[in-house]
């Protein structure tokens, strides 16, 4: 398994971990790319299907790296992002991802947007659809093919007709028991049509209605990031004090907590094949946990910087073949076994 991490100092680190046997852990190989420069602090990373690493930095720079040697293939510069607006830097990743994916030149569609967006995500299969949300910005789903020039985000419904491209937009929940408006702050969202705000996780169904289908209030601290687990019933989320929980999406109950974190976990990823959860945190560690019932800490790597983002490349590494081999051996044993026929129960008379 290969993991790429980004940190505050603007370094990219590639960590290769082989987990052949889970008992004797081989020490991971760490490669460092880049030089320390806090203005180039990494905000977001993305690993494209054609094996390129897209990195968005605080100063508005967007680089596309080769994941094997760390060479920079392409570089964009978004002058609008200069000034270090966190949210806009995050927004542009979705934009540039499309550029890098389709055309080699930096002539993608430009989206103008209102500030205070915190997170944008592109649909994992249909790349022209994306969703975004932020502080006091309701969750909205957009189709980039139908998009025309104009503001990407609007507050009122009336403007909707004039702006093409908006597929769907959520509506805030009804007022609380004091008849006060419930504030909105979307810190992270995931497609599967679920999204999440400060201190609560909301699940939306775009087909049914604009208000959330389910709304769970979890924990005392604000949620930092979240990810969908191996199946769509499981969510992992992290909060500001460094708790990582797994939640059942149907009931909204906490299934369990991953332990060993000292600082806030900024980003997390699931390796589906080997059922591992990888996390990077402000306490400068990369940790790998088992997802199963044990939630055991398998490996941790000290990376010397406050880490901000990570991506996992599962395709690389030798563990896949090993696992297959092991599986086939196991199958042989099963095949060789005799079938035990159920005995007929003797009936007493």
């Amino acid at each position: 398994m290969k993991i790429f991490t980004g940190d505050e100092a603007g370094l990219i680190k590639s960590i290769t971990i082989s987990e052949k046997s889970k008992d004797n852990i081989s020490s991971p190989i760490v490669k460092i790319w880049g030089k320390i420069d806090r203005s180039k602090s990494i905000q977001l990373m993305y690993y494209t299907a054609n094996k390129k690493l897209v990195v968005a930095r605080k100063n508005g720079q967007i680089n596309i790296h080769d994941p094997n040697e760390g060479k920079m293939c392409q570089e964009f510069f978004e002058t609008q992002v200069v000034g270090g607006h966190k949210s806009s830097a995050r927004f542009h990743v979705g934009d540039v991802y499309r550029q890098g994916y389709r055309t080699s030149s930096a002539t993608g569609t430009t989206l103008t947007l209102v500030p205070d967006l915190c997170r944008l995500r592109v649909h994992s299969k249909e790349h022209h659809i994306f969703a975004c949300g932020g502080r006091e910005r309701e969750l909205s789903v957009w189709d980039i093919n139908a998009y025309k020039e104009g503001t990407c985000f609007m507050k009122t419904q009336k403007e909707k007709e004039s702006k093409a491209g908006l597929v769907w937009m959520s509506k805030n929940v009804s007022h609380d028991y004091l008849d006060l408006r419930v504030p909105v702050w979307i810190t992270d969202l995931q497609f599967l049509n679920d999204q999440e705000t400060t201190k609560l996780i909301r699940i939306y169904d775009t087909k049914v209605k604009r208000r959330p289908v389910s709304d769970f209030n979890i924990g005392d601290n604000p949620v930092v990031s979240l990810i969908v687990g191996r199946n769509s019933n499981e969510i992992f989320f992290t909060d500001t004090i460094g708790n990582v929980f797994s939640v059942d999406m149907r009931t909204g109950k906490i299934l369990g907590q991953f332990k060993g974190f000292a600082g806030s976990v900024t980003s997390l990823a699931v390796a589906t094949e080997s059922s591992l959860l990888a996390t990077v945190a402000m306490d400068r560690f990369l940790r790998i946990h088992e997802i199963g019932a044990s939630r055991k800490l398998i490996n941790k790597v000290y990376l010397k910087q406050r880490l901000t983002y990570m991506v996992v490349d599962e395709s690389e590494g030798d563990n896949k073949q090993e696992l297959e081999k092991y599986d086939s051996e196991e199958e042989k044993i099963w095949e060789n076994m005799e079938e035990v026929k159920p005995k007929k129960r003797k009936t007493k008379h």
Binding site: A9, I32, I36, D37, R38, T198, N221, P222, V224, T240, I241, G242, K259, G260, A262, G263, S264, T266, M282, D283, R284, Y302, K304, Q305, R306
Partner: protein
């Protein structure tokens, strides 16, 4: 036969006393013999002392990969551009505001007045009941303070210190214990207004480095040596002990110390990125499940 199994009490006591006498005599003889040998050959004594190191929690500390080594260029390079670089690189001298929690008692004021004495160029401001910490941070940033220290009090005893570095954080929360004010220390001296020298001990890990650098950045760059005052932050097992002394040269070989108060002990509870915000991201927070062993330390 075991002497404790003898049933006759007088006999039992007799034998036991004899055993003990034998043991002490043997020990005494060994010691005398050793003393004689070592008087002849001083090298032997050195060897024995070098060998005989008691096992303590500190020297049997669990391996910690975050301990910063002298050749670790990445960390040092990172530190040159961190939040305290304005003190170390640009030479901006510290300016601190000290205040208390809301509705403080007499003891908080007394302790705060001693703190003003400790940190040069610090100022006390009464808290009042109106302002939140976030507002205070804003006011202080506008007035170009570099740090804010808040003495928190519970049941009329100061129990914690919130330290905020300005303008971009970080924020730290220390548990405060074993406070002794100047007048409570026997044979204490009076402080002078000279800028003290500073001793920082055992801030070894990456987290410890941050705290150490911060504590250093609370004092002016160049001490006034004619004051002969030293402030010490000594870290032992994650407890940071503060002491202040004045040194006196009795003669060419000997120097003596006179303590100047106050004494107090700090223990880091959490460190947050950015200035104080309850919903902010915590860089490090003490949790009971981190304490896996008595030999694991974080600073």
């Amino acid at each position: 036969m075991n002497s404790s199994q003898i049933k006759n009490k007088i006999k039992r006591e007799e034998i036991h006393a004899k055993k003990r006498q034998d043991k002490t005599r043997r020990k005494m003889e060994l010691r005398l013999r050793r003393r004689k040998e070592e008087a002849e050959d001083p090298f032997k004594k050195e060897e024995r002392l070098a060998k005989n190191v008691p096992k303590t929690l500190e020297n049997t500390r669990e391996f910690d990969e975050t301990i910063v080594e002298a050749e670790d260029t990445e960390v040092f390079e990172d530190e040159t551009s961190d939040e305290f670089s304005s003190y170390f690189k640009e030479g901006i001298s510290p300016k601190m505001l000290i205040t208390t929690s809301k509705r403080p008692s007499k003891f908080a004021y007394e302790f705060a007045s001693e703190l003003i004495d400790v940190f040069p160029n610090s100022q006390f401001v009464k808290r009042g009941s109106k302002f939140s910490i976030k507002q205070i941070v804003e006011f202080c940033t506008n007035r170009s303070y570099t740090d804010v220290m808040i003495v928190n009090e519970d049941k009329k005893v100061p129990y914690a210190i919130t330290l905020i570095h300005l303008p971009d954080g970080p924020t730290a929360y220390f548990k405060l214990s074993s406070i002794k004010l100047n007048h409570e220390i026997q044979g204490h001296g009076r402080s002078s207004c000279h800028k003290p020298e500073l001793i920082l001990n055992n801030f070894n890990t990456r987290l410890g480095h941050t705290i150490g650098r911060w504590l250093q950045a609370l004092f002016p760059h160049i001490p006034e040596f004619q004051g002969r005052q030293v402030a010490t932050f000594h870290n032992q097992r994650d407890f940071i002990f503060f002491r202040r002394h004045r040194y006196v040269f009795k003669n060419k070989e000997k120097a003596e110390l006179q303590e100047i108060g106050p004494r107090f002990t700090l223990k880091l509870k959490w460190l947050q990125k950015g200035t104080f915000d309850k919903d902010g991201e915590y860089e490090w927070m003490f949790k009971p499940d981190l304490e896996t062993s008595r030999r694991r330390f974080f600073l």
